[in-house]
Amino acid sequence: MSTSVSVAFEKARADGRAALVGYLPAGFPTVDGGIAALTAMVEAGCDVIEIGLPYSDPVMDGPTIQAAAQQALDAGVRTTDVLRTVEAVAATGTPTLVMTYWNPIERYGVERFAQALYDAGGAGLITPDLTPDFAPEWIAAADARDLDKVFLVAPSSTDERIALTTAASRGFVYATAVMGVTGARAATSDLAGPLVARTKRAIETTAPGLPVGVGIGVSDGAQAAEVASYADGVIVGSAFVRTLLDHPGDLDAARRALVALTEDLAQGVRS
């Protein structure tokens, strides 16, 4: 059975806080090492997990995530390894999404992937290079199984496109609140607040109750707290990846650092 991420968002909302969404690509540093890392993030306080499907041409990713995905690909990670990772993480009871560029899904077969994801207990997909207007197959396959469809909005999106995106999304809508690729940033963006406000306005009429998650290069608890003040979810990716990259070959140290980062972020979304 798959659990929609909306369960985690509702729980966080009931606690009067934002949800913490943590990302790592599958197969990094190894498939089992990645599962261990993600499990540690769950135990230390991530409410939702995003598992990246490593892809050869990741146009929306900055150097940190590129490096991790490349390392996974060089080690031979397969789409089936991603599904295995989903299964292991979803078994913890934490809603688990796959974040993927579109071609690997087309190649696997949209229906076939949707079913495999469902069978593995995955909640759904985040699709950074697939917008709802080019996603009829995925939307049909997801709707048939009640899988989450997390589409993205950006500061450059028109109000019309934000409405189209929120109407098509399920689980949450992902606000990329900087114009640029993924990567940790020292300062938060002044584009984020206005984007979230526009998105919430669209949600009122198109998808009442849909949470807004913000991805913006958050790397510590203080930034997480700031984003949590206006968003329903704080998405953290590059900072987790960086932590693993900084501890090559020392799984224990990496795990300790991941736990410390997660706890700091979890504190942030609660302040």
């Binding site: 789409t79 071609n103 087309e106 950074p128 450059s156 496109r161």
Partner: protein
């Protein structure tokens, strides 16, 4: 609009078939803005006139249609060469960049970015930027900057910044990725001059609109010269801009057979090639659904070709649709066949073609036996100056004495 054009969403060959726009939401507004500006420009006589003026007075267009008598004797067919090699900067690419750069000015943007493999599109972009007073940044795979140092120098002399791309396979596809990453962060003041008729809608149609004069000119010139249409036309296909530019002039003439020649590298059977249509499968790459060289999991596979301009694991979606519908046929030509054709054209006609274009010549020679006495029109997309380093190594040139290139090709 014809059945061969894209629909409103950029689909060729029917909704959901080939093309479309598989892009991050952050770039959708820019693509929409570009599409609207382009459509308005194309119906604005002032824009069209300025573009045509630039082509004529600066780029040296229309290029001539040249009857290659000695090559015709060799082939047993009447061979006409569309001399895009004589354009300013040495290839058809100048048409596309002048169109896109002029559109950039019209949109009030001040900076252009481009990707380049061999450096031809980079040089053309740097040229157009210099000509129109725009800032220019070119992304080029690190491997290619080393292979094509001379073109790096040309771009720099023209005032462009060349950024070596160190990610992925460090070649053309990664240069496109990096240019897209730049564009996401700079889109308010920067235009992306896409180098071929591929990518997300509207690029395939937009690039076609700037290069279709190749086919329109060739059609008129062929009628003037021979009194009738050619029996067959041929072009090399990398991303597909020179080919689609030629093909567009003849798509609605069913009596004209259309051939695209892809890079067969070491031979399709070796796996080291760039024959995307002949040996790839349908997938999504760089924003469009098309034929892609990919593995079982949809990871892009590296392509191989002696010609950097054809060394790309994707292809423009309109070619994918033309192949699927059977209107055009696509065949691979190996490195060795292309190099033989390069030498042959040099010896027989005194024309040194780009290695890309030599693929079209080689392909045309392969279809000639079935077309004895017929007219075959070949797009000679570029000149070979940029390829002299490769030719030097390949043929063992450069030491004084008799030519080491065998005359076999010419005698055969």
């Amino acid at each position: 609009m014809t059945q061969y054009d894209a629909d409103l969403h950029g689909w060729f060959g029917g909704a959901g078939s080939f093309g479309g726009r598989f892009m991050p939401e952050a770039l959708i507004a820019a693509l929409d803005e570009l599409e609207i500006a382009w459509q308005k420009a194309m119906v604005d006589p002032a824009f069209v006139q300025e573009f045509e003026g630039m082509l004529q007075n600066y780029a040296g267009v229309p290029s001539m249609l040249y009857e290659a008598h000695r090559l015709s004797d060799h082939a047993g067919a009447r061979i006409l060469l569309k001399r895009e090699d004589l354009n300013h900067t040495g290839a058809h690419k100048i048409r596309n960049v002048l169109g896109q750069a002029l559109l950039t000015k019209r949109m009030g943007k001040t900076r252009v970015i481009a990707e380049t493999g061999a450096g031809q599109h980079g040089v053309a972009s740097a040229t157009a930027a210099a000509y129109l007073g725009l800032d220019c940044t070119v992304y080029m795979g690190e491997v290619d900057t080393e292979r094509q140092a001379l073109n790096v120098a040309r771009m720099q002399l023209l005032g462009a910044e060349v950024i070596p791309v160190k990610s992925g396979s460090r070649t053309l596809k990664d240069a496109i990725n990096e240019a897209l990453r730049d564009w996401v962060a700079s889109v308010d003041h920067t235009a992306y001059l896409f180098g071929t008729a591929a990518g997300p809608h509207p690029f395939p149609s937009l690039v076609l609109s700037f290069v279709r004069s190749i086919g329109d000119e060739a059609r008129r010139q062929c009628l003037d010269l021979t009194g009738r249409l050619p029996d067959a036309i041929a072009a090399c296909v990398g991303g597909g801009s020179n080919a689609i530019g030629l093909f567009a002039g003849f798509l609605e003439d069913p009596e004209v057979a259309i051939y695209g020649f892809e890079a067969g590298g070491d031979g399709v059977e070796t796996g080291r090639h760039a024959a995307t249509i002949a040996a790839g499968s349908v997938g999504v790459l760089h924003g469009a659904r098309t034929y892609v060289l990919q593995d079982e999991d949809g990871q892009t596979v590296e392509s191989h070709s002696i010609s950097a301009g054809l060394d790309y694991p994707g292809v423009g979606p309109q070619h994918a649709a033309l192949a699927a519908s059977g209107r055009a046929s696509y065949f691979p030509v190996t490195d060795a066949e292309a190099m033989d054709a390069m030498a042959l054209l040099a010896r027989a006609e005194g024309i040194i073609p780009a290695i890309e274009s030599a693929h079209a010549v080689a392909g045309a020679l392969q279809i000639a036996p079935e077309r004895q006495g017929q007219t075959i029109l070949i797009n000679l997309s570029g000149r070979g100056d940029k390829d002299m380093g490769t030719a030097l190594d390949y043929f063992g040139l450069g030491t004084a004495g008799p030519s080491p290139v065998s005359e076999q090709g010419e005698e055969a």
